[in-house]
């Protein structure tokens, strides 16, 4: 993986190359993620087409990695139908190295809002073994995620409402979230 990233890093020093690579990557990412999210929700292309008021052929076109004429409004409607938000950001090319290295079906999947861990409150018992009523405090925990700010290519992707980056930071058992994350929130 490091060899691959080192090779890509050198290639991206060429301006024309990096814009062409980033554009092709974006098209691949958008098409593959729509397909993966649709299947994750067990929807057919026709189901998704009905949800956003278009034809099945339109969804098929959007799921083609060589299609690049998608419109923001269409992507926004798809996001709503899939229970996720659409995120559009301008990014540095440095982030492309990580995004490219991490590309996988698993990394394209996103839970819908109902399954979004940030909105699922969990009750955690503290010191349950001690049997001391005063120590049986409860804490509400959730998970949050770190924002990758070293982000200039355009990135488009679908995210859960609470997810703003790739590197998930999990709160500890007491529900404590690192300070920088609390500040970001």
């Amino acid at each position: 993986m490091r060899e691959y990233q080192a090779a890509l890093r050198e290639e991206l020093r060429d301006e024309d190359y990096r814009y062409a690579y980033a554009e092709d990557f974006l098209n691949t990412f958008v098409a593959a993620q729509i397909k993966v999210l649709r299947e994750q929700r067990e929807l057919t292309q026709q189901d998704l087409a009905d949800l956003i008021g278009t034809k099945q052929a339109g969804i098929s076109r959007l799921e083609n990695v060589n299609y690049s004429s998608w419109k923001t409004e269409t992507l926004r409607r798809i996001a709503r139908a899939l229970g996720v938000r659409l995120r559009i950001t301008f990014e540095t090319f440095g982030t492309l190295l990580d995004d490219a290295a991490r590309f996988s079906r698993q990394n394209l999947e996103r839970p819908d809002f109902v399954e979004d861990s940030a909105f699922q409150e969990q009750v955690v018992e503290l010191n349950p073994a001690e049997g001391d009523a005063s120590s049986n405090a409860i804490a509400v925990t959730g998970s949050t995620e770190q924002t990758s700010n070293n982000s200039a290519s355009i990135a488009v992707g679908y995210e859960t409402a609470a997810v703003t980056g790739h590197n998930a930071l999990i709160a500890d058992a007491a529900g404590k979230v690192p300070q920088q994350i609390q500040a970001a929130a």
Partner: protein
């Protein structure tokens, strides 16, 4: 909470991405036919970027996802698929799954450029022939080499 547990309080998740291996077919003289094709085809920077991007993603996605998203088209001939790369020209390198490990590898067998929606005459057959040669002689391939700028 022990020391190690404390250290695990903040976990950064990096999902493991398992890659499929990619190989290039070698001619009888041991020459990489894909690099040779890329050099002879005089690929532009844009072509090269698009081709490398597609190959980079190909090894990261499940085969069925590659088919469903029109990444790969086929089989267009006996076990032969073409990689669909839209650039200044319609690059269509041809490949097969395996052929020794069907789920863990692809082998690029022949480079091609599509014109008017058609592959060059005999290209599919040549790719299939290369696959047969490889099956007969597993040493007729090498680990895929990225398409360089001086190709």
């Amino acid at each position: 909470m022990g020391k190690s547990e404390k250290n695990n309080a903040c976990v950064i998740k990096f999902p493991v991405v398992e890659s499929i291996r990619l190989y290039d077919f070698l001619s009888a003289r041991g020459e990489n036919v894909i690099l040779r094709w890329a050099r002879d085809a005089r690929l532009t920077v844009r072509d090269r970027a698009a081709l490398n991007q597609k190959l980079d993603r190909l090894v990261q996605m499940p085969f069925q996802l590659a088919i469903d998203t029109k990444f790969l088209a086929g089989p267009i001939h006996k076990h032969i698929y073409k990689l669909v790369v839209h650039s200044n020209v319609m690059l269509r390198p041809m490949l097969c799954r395996g052929p020794f490990d069907l789920h863990g590898e692809y082998t690029l067998l022949l480079g091609a450029v599509e014109s008017g929606g058609k592959l060059p005459e005999g290209a599919k057959q040549k790719a299939a022939e290369n696959r047969e040669l490889l099956l007969a002689d597993p040493s007729r391939r090498c680990v895929h080499a990225r398409i360089p700028s001086c190709s």
